[in-house]
């Protein structure tokens, strides 16, 4: 069963690697645009993950502490960006943060700040799409946590904040780690919302998936070559993440 599961992942990846236009990987690798897009991708996905951690963990805590219908509602709202077709996600972001958007418009009129079509927009788009993964994973971790430790900490005089930072958070590390990996990977692969909300501007908002998209329009082989580079980098990063980061208990 596990093997079948693994096969489902491995076969397509094997297909990619076997049929890969290896001749194109070299040129793609040295092309400056590739490095620009790759760097931008890493920058945006990591920033999005950090933002998601900062905003998402408190949100998960709130979710885990509320009960009943309110919790279901909040959790459902949090999950929606995952369901939203990516293009519409981008449109929704434009409607909120675009120059004509709900808060984009006042922002533009008051300070002349435009969010859309900037690197910040790419980060926002990726955060919007990827953060739910973090929130849901962390909330799952919170729910299965043994709360005796938090009680013990409180009995030792630790206030909410100290309990959270010194006990809850460390005990939650595996869940946060999974969540962050999920979030980062999702952000790295993000395409639809980014192209709609942030545009496809090389060096500013053209992340790897967008570069792949553009390449695919003209020579699909180049697109595959680009993807392989993205895959290799992701693989290296994922393998590089040591188990000790996981703090498996």
């Amino acid at each position: 069963m596990a093997a079948a599961g693994l096969l489902l992942f491995l076969l397509p990846l094997a297909g990619l690697i076997i049929r890969a236009p290896w001749g194109q990987v070299g040129p793609a690798l040295v092309a400056p645009e590739t490095m620009t897009a790759l760097g931008l991708s890493l920058f945006c996905s990591v920033t999005a993950t950090v933002v998601a951690l900062v905003l998402g963990i408190p949100l998960a805590v709130v979710l885990a502490r509320t009960h009943g219908t309110l919790r279901s509602l909040l959790r459902a709202l949090t999950t929606l960006p995952m369901v939203l077709p990516p293009v519409v996600g981008g449109v929704a972001l434009l409607l909120a943060f675009g120059r004509r958007g709900l808060i984009g418009a006042p922002l533009y009129q008051a300070f002349g700040i435009q969010i859309a079509f900037t690197t910040a927009a790419a980060v926002i788009a990726e955060t919007f799409v990827a953060m739910p993964f973090l929130v849901i994973a962390v909330e799952g971790g919170l729910r299965s946590m043994d709360h005796r430790y938090e009680e013990a900490a409180r009995a030792l005089g630790a206030g909410s904040w100290r309990v959270f930072a010194r006990v809850t958070l460390p005990l939650l590390r595996p869940a946060i780690f999974s969540g962050a990996v999920l979030c980062w990977a999702r952000a790295l692969g993000e395409f639809g919302a980014t192209i709609t909300f942030a545009g496809n501007l090389p060096g500013r908002t053209q992340t790897m998936p967008l570069a792949v998209y553009v390449a695919n329009e003209t020579h699909p082989e180049g697109a595959i070559a680009l993807s392989l580079i993205l895959l290799a980098v992701s693989l290296a990063i994922l393998i590089g993440m040591r188990d000790r980061w996981l703090g498996s208990l």
Binding site: R148, Y149, E151, A152, A153, R154, A155, L156, G157, A158, G159, S160, V163, R166, V167, P170, L171, R173, G247, L249
Partner: protein, 348 residues
Amino acid sequence: MAGIALSLHASIRVQRNGFALDVDLEVGAGETVAVLGPNGAGKTTLLRALAGLVPIDGRVELDGEVLDDSAAGRHVLTEHRRVGLVFQDHALFPHMTVLDNVAFGLRRDSSRIAREWLDRAGLADKAHAMPRELSGGQAQRVALLRTLATEPRLLLLDEPLSALDVTIRAEVRRELSRQLSGFQGVRILVTHDPLEAMALADRLVVLEQGKVVQTGSPAEVTARPRSRFVADLAGVNLLRGRGRGRHVELEGGAMLTAAEAGEGDVFAVIHPRAVALFLAKPEGTPRNVWRGRAEDLDLQGERVRVRLSGTVPLVAEVTPSAVRELHLDSGAEVWVAVKATEISVYRA
């Protein structure tokens, strides 16, 4: 800390499906109270309620400060109560070293102070071990240290010594009793060990099914048990019946003759040592003589406890040589005799 007199006034009601706790408790400054009671009596619940971890109906006041008052809607959070609660199952933080666990509750100089506590407890070599690398007893001691180090003004100990070995237990008990007499806080201790309760507590509170059934000094409580549980704790035989002059009519129907019995519902206590066993019906002074059957024998140190069934079920304590002489064995039929003067009777 010294010089400040702390005292606890608590009136606690907790309602849980199928279980209700209803306890009024007063503990004076510097007093140690041992809470005893059968499994499931509500001892842990009581401690958790005092710590503020269980919502209650009622009022808790520690040294004049109201910690809980359901009528006034007041509830001081656990972390602001300065209570120290040692859990029945230690609950050491699994992700911290032993040292960090002990240092956790300390504000200043935490690491140095924690190390001192560990040194004193002879656990210095485990300072950098993780809790999962400790044995059960080591974990329990660390949990105790962790709480004692915070110098709480209300110390709540839930079976703190149950997993300790004999040597350490005696030491920790001594250490604890030194600690306890050292500061003026209020101490409440849950234990199943009568010796521990006697050694550490000024007063016993016996809880059964969520209610206080008896309270008093160890000597008072064990001299006049008011329940099967306390009788077992004191290691004596407890019988219940109706007093009629010098006789007690037991619930089973048998008659007991005592020095004085009074009238109405009474308890009768017989020390196992006062129960004599014979092969033939004894002639002489003992006024209470029945037939009995030795159900089982239990060697306890230099004494053998014999559980007897028959007209009046009792436990007798005899010497191993008596066992040999009487050819006592499970199932043996014997005569049981108790002198009237060895039976103490008091109102139920």
